[in-house]
């Protein structure tokens, strides 16, 4: 009873069912960003740099999976690396497009399932963008539908 009350009193945007990211990026297979969006109040360049360095870890994970057992060929890569303020998660599609999500470390109610479902939503929206005949593969993503899906997953700037 008491724990329920505590959870309801916590911060406005920290709802029970959603994890808020501080930065979300979609990287093409040639390793340039197709879409990168971060919380505007913070130093954006720092996030760009974090995503860029995480690509090395992604590459390492992809190449090591090839030599591992067949049943480990998952698309979700998991926690790439933790920094002092943030945690970075990765996901790679079969078309070698990578998704990177950066989450605040202080957000302790993180569950693997929630991160997986965020990637799931990203992948679904990305597939829709890919199937849009007006989108040329390799171009930056400008779809409003994609934008609004990402906004729903990001920390709301107060």
């Amino acid at each position: 009873m008491t724990c329920l009350c505590f959870l309801c009193v916590s911060r406005d945007y920290d709802e029970l069912s959603s994890i808020m990211a501080v930065c979300i990026a979609v990287i093409a297979k040639e390793n340039y960003p197709l879409y990168i969006r971060s919380v505007p109040t913070q130093n954006e360049l720092k996030f760009h740099y974090t995503v860029h360095t995480s690509l090395d870890v992604v590459e390492e994970k992809i190449s090591s999976v090839g030599k591992a057992l067949a049943d480990q060929r998952e698309l979700y890569l998991g926690l790439l690396y933790p920094t002092e303020d943030y945690k970075v998660y990765g996901y790679v599609t079969n078309s070698k497009v990578k998704f990177v999500i950066v989450v605040d470390s202080s957000n302790t109610s993180l569950r693997d399932n929630e991160i997986r479902s965020m990637f799931r939503k990203l992948h679904n929206s990305f597939t829709d963008v890919m199937c849009n005949p007006f989108y040329i593969p390799g171009d930056p993503i400008q779809s409003k539908a994609f934008d609004s899906m990402v906004s729903a997953m990001m920390v709301q700037a107060c």
């Binding site: 297979k29 060929r73 698309l75 790679v92 079969n94 078309s95 597939t127 199937c131 005949p133 593969p137």
Partner: protein
């Protein structure tokens, strides 16, 4: 085009795509007829159809590989294309896959869905390439998005069977 084997009740029928495809081929050729009938124009039509198929293949493969685990190697990719990809689009698998293990694959379909309405023998054999261009592009687009750049050609000797030859380009 169905994602699972059982078509969901709110999806359209297969025949719609077959009719659309026939009309696309007819439209492309009609457009170019007005510019004079020579080999160069016919080559353009085939390229146009192939490019259309390419873009569609790229999008489709993204949708179909959303839930599958990543592929081990080239042969794994080709098997996926022959089974799941072909089944989702043409409601049947490729009947025979042959390879020389050096990047060349021959996919044989004994009853290619887009050719069955045309004939089942030697009649209209010379018209067959027009109706295969889009599917060649489809294959090429799908493979390209999975990381395999290739050249795809098709040949028909007896309708409605056809063979798609895929030569994977090594960089």
């Amino acid at each position: 085009m169905y994602i699972n084997d059982v078509p969901p009740l709110d999806m359209a029928d297969d025949s719609l795509f077959e009719f659309l495809h026939m009309e696309i081929v007819s439209h492309v050729y009609k457009e170019h007829e007005s510019r004079g009938d020579n080999d160069k124009e016919r080559g353009t039509c085939v390229s146009l159809l192939e490019l259309m198929g390419f873009r569609v293949g790229q999008g489709l493969i993204e949708r179909f590989t959303k839930d599958t685990p990543s592929f081990k190697d080239e042969l794994d990719v080709m098997k996926f294309v022959c089974k799941d990809f072909w089944t989702n689009i043409f409601r049947k698998q490729i009947d025979n896959l042959r390879t020389n293990h050096q990047g060349t694959y021959v996919l044989q379909d004994n009853r290619f869905t887009l050719l069955t309405p045309l004939s089942s023998g030697k009649q209209y054999l010379e018209e067959a390439p027009k109706y295969l261009a889009f599917s060649c592009g489809l294959l090429r687009g799908a493979l390209s998005n999975l990381g395999l750049e290739s050249v795809v050609t098709a040949e028909v000797s007896l309708m409605p069977a056809c063979k798609f030859q895929v030569v994977v380009q090594k960089i």
